[in-house]
């Protein structure tokens, strides 16, 4: 059973990982948090599930549509909550994006009701029996797509000119701007990418949970926040590792202790890390170098 539980945890971590990466991209580029990202994932998942149930298109098309919707919503959120909101007031874009999240939830509730929406299975006939654990078709799809997207993002950031530009802006936006990097467009791209990741995460989470609730958004954002704090703000590797760690902790807590303690254990872990090592497990030594 332990092997099966570990696999469950890994799977949960893989879906967490995608939203956390999206969250992290925006933090890197703008030093601002997009609190509507969880709702972006939720909207993409709801519409993705709708496409899967209402149209005969195969899953990959629905998945692509969900990522596109995620990207679009994230870009809209960028214009509403970031582009024209003054950076002098750090609370402004946080509240504004929370407002966007509220609107997204309300719109979905209004259009589709407050009940959870069922997400149809994929590859429901497939079952791999590996002895110590069995893997369903949906789980295979989730793991495969999450890994592909994470690796793709990594390669994009490291190997392409646009990826380099994103890293430059996240390192020092002013300097990057002086060097001719089109900062605004790079930020827009970052938001779109974060939305794509969130959209993918939303639908994959829906597959893993079998359904999606219009009220999932805030929890998703919160989990992503815990992950990037644990892994270190802006650190891609840290984000991936922290996502897997939190996925495993949550699963094992539920399996061997109690679901009531699930979030608590994660919270306490993050709290301790914050107080003892505020730069996160993988963060750079932020703050120590500032000269007076």
């Amino acid at each position: 059973m332990l092997a099966q539980q570990l696999f469950n945890g890994l799977l949960l971590g893989a879906t967490f990982c995608l939203v956390a990466l999206g969250f992290n991209l925006v933090v890197g580029a703008m030093d601002r948090l997009n609190f509507a990202l969880g709702e972006t994932a939720m909207v993409s998942a709801v519409l993705g599930a709708l496409i899967m149930t209402e149209t005969p298109v195969p899953f990959p098309v629905a998945f692509a549509a969900a990522t596109a919707i995620g990207g679009g919503v994230a870009v809209a959120v960028y214009y509403l909550s970031f582009r024209f909101v003054s950076a002098d007031f750090p609370t402004a874009s946080i509240l504004s994006s929370l407002g966007c999240g509220l609107v997204l939830t309300a719109v979905v509730t209004k259009a589709f009701g407050s009940h959870q929406r069922s997400v149809p299975d994929v590859l429901s006939g497939v079952r791999l029996d590996l002895g110590v654990l069995t893997v369903s078709g949906a789980q295979l799809v989730i793991l495969l797509l999450a890994t592909l997207l994470t690796a793709g993002l990594y390669l994009f950031l490291e190997r392409t000119p646009w990826g380099t530009a994103i890293r430059a802006v996240s390192d020092d936006a002013t300097m990057a701007g002086l060097l001719g990097v089109p900062v605004q467009r790079v930020i827009l791209l970052t938001f779109a990418l974060s939305g794509v990741l969130a959209g993918a995460a939303g639908l994959l989470t829906g597959l893993a949970y079998h359904s999606i609730s219009p009220f999932d958004g805030f929890t998703t954002t919160l989990t992503a926040l815990m992950i990037i704090v644990l892994g270190g703000l802006g650190s891609v590797t840290g984000g991936v590792v922290a996502a897997l760690v939190i996925g495993l902790i949550q699963t094992l807590t539920v399996a061997y202790l109690s679901a009531t303690l699930r979030d608590l254990i994660v919270f306490i872990l993050v709290g301790i890390v914050l107080l003892v090592r505020p730069q996160g497990l993988f963060g750079r030594n932020a703050g120590v170098l500032e000269r007076v």
Partner: protein, 286 residues
């Protein structure tokens, strides 16, 4: 006064208390995302005292203020040196902890909570608001209030001026928690029902919205925000399912037009809050 007017005044009054309490912490530049923890501590302390020990409500309110202040001082002492985001997270975690403890504690009814508290009256609420407003008027014209503003502006410059920022900020946080605790006690004895659900992230967000909608520069901005936001659902409930959409869009629009809130000056001064990824302040404070 009809019971409707009374209910409106009570609700607005308690919201104003919550906003003012929160503003005290914000005036030192510290945004908490867990003030519901202090509300819960206040509400439960007072409810235990009035229900199980038959204390009169005003006395129980004092006790709940004290209990919340102790908790506030403790969490403030641990967390106030953290940067804005981290402080928000730590306080949120704290509120979740409190919530969980309450929901597992059978003495206070666990997840079903407590029921049957009464005694919140209009004079009591208005009296509390008046006391807090008087305190804040005094504060905003005093050296202590100036010190709060200084810490909000620039902690390093504040240390250079000899301000003992940890002590001042923890004091502010504890005062803020105390007011919030009293508001929690009043709210419990108005609703007559409390359970852990009432003190979740939703309420925490609402308290922040009161302050930020009104503007954090002056305390009466926060009070105005509280009045507006607590009257909104009562007088605009005809919006029905459009309500939340309008409500969300209101914030989006407001933050574009007036990021400083309804009251307050725009730009000009460098309102310097720490950059998000900044780690712990380097100097050992306290």
């Amino acid at each position: 006064m009809s019971s409707f007017t009374e209910a409106v005044v009570l609700q607005v009054g308690i919201s104003v208390l919550l906003a003012l309490g929160y503003w005290i912490a914000v005036s030192t530049g510290k945004y908490s995302f867990g003030h519901t923890a202090f509300m819960a501590i206040g509400a439960y302390t007072a409810s235990i005292l009035t229900l199980n020990f038959s204390w009169p409500l005003p006395l129980a309110m004092l006790a709940s203020g004290a209990a919340a202040a102790v908790a506030g001082a403790l969490i403030g002492w641990m967390a106030l040196r953290l940067s804005m985001l981290y402080l928000a997270i730590i306080t949120f975690i704290f509120s979740q902890l409190v919530n969980l403890l309450i929901s597992q504690w059978e003495y206070v009814g666990g997840a079903s909570g407590m029921i049957g508290m009464t005694g919140t009256t209009v004079p009591l609420v208005l009296g509390c608001v008046l006391i807090v407003v008087a305190y804040l008027v005094l504060l905003s014209r005093s050296r202590l209030g100036l010190a709060y503003k200084a810490i909000r502006e620039d902690e390093r410059a504040a240390t250079a001026s000899g301000l003992r920022i940890t002590r001042i900020a923890v004091g502010a946080f504890a005062t803020s928690a105390a007011v919030t605790g009293v508001a929690g006690a009043l709210s419990a004895h108005q609703l007559m029902v409390i359970n852990p659900e009432l003190f979740g992230p939703r309420q925490a967000l609402l308290i922040i919205l009161y302050c930020v909608l009104g503007g954090v520069e002056y305390f009466w901005g926060a009070a105005l925000g509280a009045v507006a936001l607590s009257l909104l659902p009562i007088y605009f409930d005809w919006l029905n399912e459009w309500y939340e959409i309008v409500y969300g869009l209101l914030f989006v629009a407001l933050m574009i037009v007036r990021p400083q809130g309804l009251i307050g000056r725009r730009g000009g001064g460098r309102i310097r809050l720490p950059r998000i990824p900044a780690g712990r302040e380097r100097e050992s404070v306290g």
